[in-house]
């Protein structure tokens, strides 16, 4: 029987200056289904969703809701028509409480004054119904990423959304959090909600979706269902060529320990111990993966190794026997460290800088880029062009502002810059978070190549698949401690998952 | 000098009338604050007015470079006499004056002409009127402290205030002196005056254009007020007891006479109580005891006679 779809988007086209972001895109969503949009970075997924939510105006095309032509000119009108959206980058005000974030834009029952107690009660109700436990009184900046995600969903539920868009909701979640999220989403579809889901993680897509639409370069390249397809097929559809999902890793003889952590203890932002007595060696020619649920000290550990955060007394960090316990970032880099930070736009690149400038961020002072005291722009251009070509950074030009590159390309840019300096140790935090499958493949292959050449690599990731695919040894962090170190051959996903949840400690 | 005050003033007035009988000179004035500031600049505008002169005016030019441009502009326009009313313009004047040997520049307050023969200089012995004001204030205060609001501890401000303190001391009163550090910060001058009032002073005085705020506090608290530079009655109409007024016209008249005689400068002149350039103007609206008035007149005569030291 023929149901009217909840949403249908017809022939949507949207251009930005010089970019055709959506090219004649059509697709629909039914009540009670999860419809996934899949595509590389920059394929046009977010743009399409922003059009649906009234943030962008399409150049042409039509949106129908429940069969009727809908005019969605602003987020307010989208919300009024029961469309909810969880944006790729959280749309939360960190200095406001959960209740305040939820109440934003709603009319208060008390007129001029806020009615946060009423809002809090309703939030509690919704939380209980869907198992989304969050304290409504707490400031959002105190919440973990997973909890923030829940707030975003509560915002949509509070507004009684019948169609919910989730743009890369899992990019920053731990496996457990993803599992929890999926339970909630299923509850919602059971209640009749239609969901649009965007993710770069193929196993999630296969697990959750009812239907899948694949975009490439702004165009729809195919519709499919999980039953009809496989990870490999999806990857190929997205990228338009064959994709290698796990890199080949030849055997490499272990060298000396290059990065050594001894009794490393570090305080977190709130003054409590974030890393406790961590001991770890990373040898030349190996990739050590640090697995763990985020918030268990990985970030602090990385920042301390990079020289950004002081270690407690009694700790010791060294690279190739150079003591770096109290070093600045400049000194750790001089000692041979390359650092790929977790938050690429915050710590990794200067958004306003040109691509070439970001490629030079670390070694700009080197004599080879100068003639006398001044930059030699010809040499710099050659150097940067070489890096861009070698690492296939997709950018209109070397002078393009970095912020207008896609996340995947920014990540490639950072990798190019960090690997260029011929490091002895690479510290890579979440190197492929939010990065599409093609780019991730490339980044992985680069890391493996470095390992093969005798670089010691410490990789932090919440993505167990990534760790299992790449690491030679795996360390699990839980509550600031390294609770388990195993060789890749002896590791199983289940065992690691248990360790990440603290099972080892309890035992 | 055993003349009475009245005689001196009358003499001065005659000199003025003679000089100004029929001058064909053209005049310009460049001054740092507003023409009607009831203080430094107004004293010159009024003095020129008493001579029947209506100069072209560039006022409010506290920026020296701007003043220099205006001075040069007037000289280029062929103005005969340019009154350069601000010590701080002296340096610029030293550059400009030699370029215009036909023009006469009258500059103050300054004690020398920088060796330029087309520059006259003028300076007030402000301590003299300060002493008189201080003496009256001291008598009115009857032993209580008198509040003084000063701007920057320099120039005629410091002369006036030190003379005032001596006069008050002669009448047996202490002075409490606060320099705000600014000629223009009215808010601070006002706050300072208020602090004096809170300390229980019996009278107030102050100098510079910022003193207007102090005068308003005197008004609001019914305290006698003493002015200087111009007649400050507009600031505190019922409470201004007396003002030492700069009658530059006395020396201006002499200068103009010399200019008409072909001498364009080279001399520095002072205004004093004796030559009638400093005039104590008493406010009719304030009922001053006859005894006190007499004591004041006596002091004026004593200063003129050189019997009383005001420094």
């Amino acid at each position: 029987m023929e149901h009217t779809p909840l949403l249908s988007m017809h022939n949507i086209t949207k251009t930005f200056p010089g970019v055709l972001a959506n090219d004649d895109v059509s697709f629909d969503v039914r009540n009670g289904e999860v419809h996934t949009l899949l595509g590389e970075n920059g394929a046009g997924k977010s743009t399409l969703m922003k059009i649906l939510f009234g943030l962008y105006k399409p150049d042409s095309g039509e949106i129908r809701l429940r069969g009727e032509v809908a005019s969605i000119t602003s987020p307010t009108s989208a919300i009024e028509q029961r469309v909810g959206m969880v944006h790729q980058h959280f749309m939360l005000v960190p200095t406001l409480t959960v209740a305040e974030n939820v109440a934003l834009g709603l009319t208060s029952s008390r007129g001029f004054r806020t009615d946060l107690d009423v809002v809090s009660d309703r939030i509690t109700e919704i939380s209980e119904q869907y198992g989304l436990s969050v304290d409504p009184e707490i400031d959002v900046w105190k919440l973990s990423v997973g909890e923030r995600q829940r707030v975003e969903i509560i915002k949509a539920l509070y507004r009684d959304a019948e169609l919910l868009v989730l743009d890369e909701p899992t990019a920053v979640l731990t496996p457990q959090e993803v599992a929890d999220l999926f339970v909630i989403l299923r509850q919602m579809t059971d209640a009749g909600t239609g969901i649009i889901f965007i993710s770069h993680k193929l196993h999630e897509v296969l697990e959750l979706s009812d239907r899948i639409t694949v975009l490439r370069n702004g165009r729809v390249t195919g519709h499919t269902t999980p039953a009809e397809t496989s990870r490999q097929q999806l990857a190929d559809m997205m990228v338009g060529r064959e994709v290698k999902l796990a890199p080949d890793k030849p055997h490499v003889d272990l060298g000396l320990a290059r990065l050594r952590l001894r009794n490393l203890s570090v305080k977190g932002d709130r003054g409590t111990m974030a890393v406790v007595d961590a001991d770890l060696d990373v040898h030349a020619g190996e990739i050590v993966g640090i697995a763990g649920v985020s918030g268990n000290g990985q970030r602090e550990l990385a920042e301390t190794v990079a020289g950004l955060r002081p270690a407690e007394a009694g700790s010791s960090v060294s690279i190739d026997d150079v003591d770096l316990t109290t070093a600045t970032p400049a000194r750790t880099r001089a000692a041979g460290l390359s650092y790929v930070p977790e938050e690429r736009m915050k710590d990794g690149a200067v958004g306003e800088f040109q691509v070439s400038e970001n490629l030079l961020l670390i070694n700009h002072a080197e004599a080879r880029f100068r003639r006398g005291p001044l930059f030699d722009f010809a040499k710099i251009r050659d150097h940067c062009q070489e890096l861009v070509d070698q690492f296939s950074v997709k950018t209109p030009s070397l002078a393009t502002p970095t912020s207008s590159l896609s996340g995947g390309n920014i990540q490639k840019l950072i990798m190019a810059r960090e690997l260029e300096s011929k490091p002895s140790v690479i510290l890579a935090a979440q190197p492929t978070r939010g990065v599409d499958i093609g780019a991730a493949e490339y980044i992985h292959s680069q890391l493996v190549e470095q390992r093969n050449e005798g670089v010691a690599i410490l990789m932090i990731s919440e993505d167990l698949d990534e760790i299992l695919g790449l690491a030679d040894r795996i360390a699990v962090m839980f509550e600031g401690r390294i609770v388990k170190v195993v060789d890749r051959e002896n590791a199983t996903k289940e065992e690691l998952g248990l360790a990440m949840a603290g099972a080892e400690v309890d035992a | 000098g055993s003349d009475t005050v009245e005689e001196v003033t009358e003499e001065a007035a005659e000199v003025v009338d003679e000089a100004m009988a029929e001058t064909e000179l053209t005049f310009a004035l460049v001054a740092p604050s507003a023409s009607d500031d009831v203080a430094f600049t107004q004293s010159m505008v009024d003095s020129l007015g008493r001579l029947g002169i209506e100069p072209q005016i560039t006022d409010g030019t506290f920026v020296v470079e701007e003043a220099a441009a205006a001075i040069r502009g007037y000289a280029e326009d062929g103005v005969n006499v340019i009154v350069v009313h601000g010590t701080q313009y002296g340096g610029s004047l030293a550059e400009i004056a030699p370029d215009f040997p036909e023009t006469s520049f009258i500059w103050g307050t300054a004690t020398d002409t920088q060796g330029l023969d087309n520059v006259f200089a003028y300076y007030p012995e402000a301590d003299q009127g300060g002493y008189v004001n201080g003496l009256i204030a001291g008598n009115l205060a009857d032993g209580a402290t008198i509040g003084v609001v000063g701007p920057v501890e320099a120039g005629d401000a410091v002369a006036y205030i030190e003379g005032f303190a001596l006069g008050a001391a002669a009448a047996g009163s202490d002075t409490s002196i606060v320099y705000t550090g600014s000629f223009s910060d009215v808010a601070l001058a006002t706050t300072t005056a208020q602090a004096h009032v809170d300390n229980g002073v019996a009278a107030l005085t102050g100098t510079s254009q910022s003193a207007v705020g102090a005068a308003s506090i005197a008004s609001a608290n019914d305290l006698p007020w003493f002015g200087t530079q111009s007649n400050t009655e507009p600031w505190a109409s019922d409470l201004t007891v007396a003002s030492q007024v700069y009658h530059w016209d006395v020396v201006l008249a002499d200068m103009i006479e010399m200019i008409e005689g072909g001498t364009l400068g080279g001399e520095a002149m002072q205004i004093t109580l004796e030559n009638g350039g400093l005039v104590m103007e008493f406010n009719d609206g304030f009922e001053l005891d006859a005894d006190l008035k007499a004591a004041a007149d006596e002091a004026i005569a004593g200063i003129i006679a050189g019997d009383i030291a005001t420094k």
Binding site: D347, E357, L374 | G91, A110, T111
Partner: protein, 360 residues
Amino acid sequence: MKRLLGASVPLGAALLAFMFGAIMILFLGEDPIAGLRAIIDGAFGTGDRLAATAVRATPLLLVGAGITIAFRASVINIGGEGQIIAGALLSTAVALWIPGTPKVLLIPLVILAGLVGGGIWGAIPGALKAYASVNEILSTIMLNIVAIQLMNYLLRGPMIDPIEVGTSRIPQTQRLTDNAALPTLIDGSRLHLGVPIAILAAVLVYIMLFRTPLGFRLRAVGHNPDAARAAGISVEKNIVSALGMSGALSGLAGVVLVFGSESLRLVTDGGSAGFTGSAGFNGIVAALFGGLHPLWTIPSSFLFGSLLTGATELQRALQIPNALAIALNGLIVLFVVSSDRVRAWLDRRLDKSMRPGDAA
């Protein structure tokens, strides 16, 4: 075509502001045409006036060039007035201390002293910000006050002209010896060495900011301190050096104001504006007006310099208070910054109409 239109928009805005000014002149009962003529005549009328305009623009340019450094590094420097004074005080002290030194030696020495004086006065709020988290807006304003009173103190006491002590007690230094005067470029003109020095300084700032590693680091810190830090760039050092350099250039403006002045001495009227002509402040306007680009700050300073000299003539010729000129400056700033939006809109229109396949 597009660039032409882009440039014409701010000019149009300035014209609009001038029309407002004309209306005000009309209300004051004067002839606006004569007013405009007086401004133009006062700023550019004769060689001398052109020179005066250039001289007036010089401190604006120096301060403005410094401001571009600070703002590019994301530090707000409202301390120009104090830094000018600090530079003037130290350089004057040096000149008073070694009066007999030959010009070729003395001029570079006082310039150096000015740079150092202003540099220190800038580096203090820089260090306070970098190492003690003290907001620089507040500390630079407060340091202006300190500098003014320091000047009052020094000119009233240790540095006062000995002649003044017993007499009129005017707070000023001795007139400096003539070998301390900045040489003039054209005989009989007021155009002095300070003008090319300032232009050179602006060019050097441009080169420093965009062609040297130092400038690269300053800009990186300004745009994204987190990324800069992670890349091994010291955020603290760069904040201090940005404010230090900014202050040094203001200090140089102080040197130009003393050693390029006709008075050739430092006088205080108790505040800063009498000496600086508010260059520490107007320099910010010039820099922002020049889009925080050191080279654009050159014409921008000249524009504001000409408005200032023109206003003096306006007042002299028509007896219109120069307060009008200040108000007019404000209006020009407002109109021109608002015109950015108009320009962007025009750009978009042009883009659309010029792209061929767009009609479909």
